[in-house]
Every structure is written in C-alpha cells, then in structure tokens.
C-alpha cells in the first residue's frame, strides 16, 4: 500500500457505534473520517458533514465525483450510470454519488477538499399541487418534514422508492427558510420519473429528498448584473434567482437579462410571472422569449406586454441582444446539453467572462 500524501492532516476519530461504518476519505488536502450507516451513499455522507467533495449532478451522469476505493466494499446504486464512463471500474474507481458503502472503507478523491461546506441533509417530503403548465410541462410542490433554507439556483435530489436512482430538480421558489419547495418538470420520452409524474398524478406520495445542492447560485453580495440563459425547464433555478432578486430589491440597481428558449408559443410557461418581474423593475429587468420553431405574433405580444420575443435558438438570440452589454455580468446557464454548449460558447468566446462568473450545473 503506497503512502498517503505528506500534506495529510490527522484528526480525532469520531465516535463509532456498532451499526455504523467508517469511511476514511483521503483527499489532496487531508484525511477526513466520516461515519454513516451501512448502505449510505458516499457522496451524501461526506456532504452531510460539510466536506466540499467535488460533484455536479449528484445523480450519476456527469462523472465529476469520481473516486477510488482502496479498502473496503461499496456497491452501485445505479449500475448503468452514464457517468461511470469516466472511471476505470477495473481499478476500483467509482462515482461517489452512486457508491453505497457496505463496510469500513477508504476512498481517495483527487481534489482539494475542506470540511467547511454547507451541510445538506435528508428530508422526507410529500408531493402536492401537481399542475400541468403546457402539454409536456408540469409544476409540483414538495412539503418537507421540516424547513430548509437554500440559495436561489440550488437543486435537490428526489428519490421515489419504486423508481431506480435519484432525480435532480432545481427549486423554482426562493422564500428564505421554507418547508414548501416548488419544481417544474418537462416530460421526457421514456423518462421513468416524468412518466410516473404525468401518468399517475401522484399527489400525496412520499419521496425522499436530499439537498440543497449545487453551486450555480445567486449571491446578492456579489453585486453583479445577472444574465440567464435557459432552455425549457432549465428556467427553474432562474425563476428562484428572479424571485429573490425582485423580493430583495436587487434589481433597483443591477440589471437582469433573461433569455428563455422554447419551441413555440404553446410551450411558454411562467410567462405571467416573468411579465410581473419586468413590471417590478422595467428599467433594469429584461426578459426575452426565444421561439426556435416559429415567429412570434402580435397576439403573443399582447398576451405578455412586458416581455420581448424573438425567433431563433436562445444562445443566438442572447448573442444578438447582449452585444457590448457584458460588463460586470455573471452568467447562468441551464437546459438541454446542446443548448448549454451553445450558451457556454457565447459566454466564453463572445462575452469573455472569466470561468468564475459562469454558473451552470453540468448534468450531461
């Protein structure tokens, strides 16, 4: 067994009870012992005690939370997780977000890690208020067993016992500490969770909730102008950002430019809410709906008088409207992977924003 890095720091061992297992997490910046229950998720166990472990999607797709198991045993929650393409399973590498710990284990994480992170946790929730917004988009609320506070732009992982694996959804609301969190979901072809949601109307069903998670967040103390580029249900976290910024008066002296891409006028949702955000701060807040598949008509403009409309993909529309307006901007991106890639190119190549001012959670 090779030696551990010389920068490792020693810490006192936490109390271990009989049914607990101990995960020893070795990182570039030290060793952290974490106690949890057998079968617990390694990533969530570490995050719960404040470790700043690397992750993005927390649901097995992006590969960011890769690690190596050097001692002990783990198994996979989702055996076909796409993010496993980024690890060498024959060398005992795995994804922390999919690894369930089965015995005392030692896990190496190739990243700088501290124990000063926020501490997400498990909640139990009840689904309610499921409402269709368009033919393939619905909103719903989850009533939690206790209040949670989160930053605008964060997400949680929902687990429904009959469906394999967790699903990450961004909260659309932001009201400080709350036990009601709101979501929007677009129906995906063959999507097990969305089929379940749309076909069984599961109001009243219990779900396990882990969070809050994600770093694509809005912090008013940064003092930046806001640029949001969203495709479809990617608007979710940006609704929370707009709610927060409107409620706290942030947009009295900071700009917000929101670009929301959908296919046609019948795919628009949250239009009334966005219209209201513009009306609250008409000098500084601008919302443009980009229709990829049709020209906007006068009826649409009359329906939402404070919104702007354009024909085209959301990143192209953003590029046209934002020329020379990128000063002191922080950019948020969310949507389907091709839209995210197009939007990133705008923010990196045209806006030339530093990487630290580009916020997105890579789910692909």
């Amino acid at each position: 067994m090779p030696s551990i890095p010389s920068i490792a720091i020693s810490r006192s061992q936490p109390t271990v009870e009989d049914d607990d297992v101990l995960i020893t997490i070795q990182t570039k910046s030290g060793i952290f012992p974490v106690t949890c229950k057998e079968g617990d998720n390694v990533l969530y166990a570490g995050l719960r005690v404040g470790l700043t472990l690397p992750y993005e999607c927390a649901t097995g797709t992006c590969g960011t939370c890769r690690c190596r198991v050097t001692e002990g045993e783990t198994d996979l929650q989702w055996e076909n997780a796409p993010g496993l393409a980024y690890v060498k399973q024959d060398k005992n590498e795995t994804l922390m977000c999919q690894a369930r710990v089965r015995s005392n284990s030692t896990i190496r994480v190739p990243a700088e890690v501290t124990d000063t992170g926020s501490r997400p946790g498990y909640f139990s929730g009840t689904l309610s208020n499921l409402v269709s917004l368009t033919h393939d988009v619905a909103r719903f609320t989850i009533d939690l067993d206790r209040p949670v506070s989160f930053d605008a732009g964060q997400f949680v992982v929902l687990n429904e016992p009959s469906l394999e694996g967790g699903r990450a959804y961004s909260m659309t609301n932001h009201t400080g500490e709350t036990s009601k969190i709101d979501f929007v979901v677009k129906r995906k072809p063959k999507g097990k969770f969305s089929d379940w949601l749309f076909d069984t109307s599961p109001n009243g069903v219990s779900l396990s909730v882990f969070g809050p998670l994600g770093r694509a967040t809005f912090d008013p103390s940064e003092g930046k102008n806001i640029l949001c580029m969203a495709g479809g249900s990617g608007i979710a976290g940006m609704m929370a950002i707009m709610e927060h910024g409107t409620a706290c008066g942030y947009f009295a002296d900071h700009r917000a430019d929101v670009f929301f891409g959908v296919r046609t006028s019948t795919d628009i949702f949250f239009g009334d809410t966005l219209n209201r955000y513009v009306d609250c701060f008409p000098e500084t807040v601008s919302v443009t709906i980009a229709l990829s598949d049709e020209e906007p008509d006068d009826a649409l403009r009359a329906r939402y008088p404070s919104l702007k409309f354009a024909n085209g993909f959301v990143h192209s529309v953003t590029s046209e409207h934002m020329k020379d307006r990128y000063e002191n901007v922080v950019g948020y991106i969310a949507g389907p992977p091709p839209m995210v890639d197009g939007a990133l190119r705008i923010l990196v190549l045209e806006a030339r924003l530093p990487a630290s001012d580009i916020r997105y959670d890579k789910f692909g």
């Binding site: 090779p2 190596r68 060398k91 990133l344 190119r345 990196v348 190549l349």
Partner: protein
C-alpha cells in the same frame, strides 16, 4: 530529426479552431491560437474530455467546456480554474506544414499504467 513528423498543413487549421489528427497511430489535437499553433494530447487533463469537441479557443485562451478548465496556449500556462498544466509537443512550421516532435507520447499522470501510485492519482500540482 526523424522524431519530427508532419502533422497537417497549416491551412488545415483556421484561427481559433482545433483539429484532431492521427499521426503514426498517435492521436493529437492541433490548435491555431492566432499567433501560432500548438499540438497536444487529445484529452483534457481533468476528466478526459475530447478537447477537439469540448475545447473553445479565443485570444490564445483554450477553455474545456466540461468544467471550464483553461490554458493560455501562447505561454503554455494553466489559467482560471485549471488545476493541471496542459502537455505540449514541440512544434515547428515550415513551408506551410506543421511538424511536431513525437519522440515520446505525452500522457497525463491520470493515464499512466502505474497509476496505482498515490502521487499519480492525486496529481502533481
């Protein structure tokens, strides 16, 4: 000088673009940053993303779209959020052709065969 191999024509790689090529079985990416060309292994040193697809190039700055790791291709230094240097082959341009010194394949520590060594797994930065 038999290790110097022609990689492609200079005109094959427009300014601010990246092109993937294979030379003697070795996969490479050629990048034209406007003040010259760089040749490097085809994957991001962070998570193995194919840089000819994930890479964005402007003002000499190469950005991988996966996690926004960046490198200044003019100086060869890492930039922004990047935690690892990019490995660069020596290049020369002559008579409209780009040549690279392929004497030894450049590999990131993550990929080495003996990577069970801790220092390799944890990286050297």
């Amino acid at each position: 000088m038999s290790n110097w191999k022609p990689v492609c024509a200079a005109s094959d790689v427009a300014e601010n673009t990246l092109k993937r090529v294979t030379v003697d079985g070795l996969d490479l990416v050629v990048a034209n940053h406007g003040k010259g060309v760089r040749v490097f292994p085809p994957f991001c040193p962070h998570m193995h993303e194919p840089l000819d697809q994930s890479g964005m190039l402007s003002d000499g700055l190469l950005t991988c779209g996966k996690h926004l790791w960046q490198w200044n291709l003019i100086t060869g230094e890492k930039a922004g959020l990047s935690e690892k240097d990019i490995l660069l082959y020596d290049v020369e341009e002559e008579d409209g052709k780009i040549f690279a010194n392929l004497e030894k394949e450049l590999v990131y520590e993550w990929e080495e065969e003996d990577e069970m060594d801790d220092d390799d797994f944890f990286g050297s930065d």
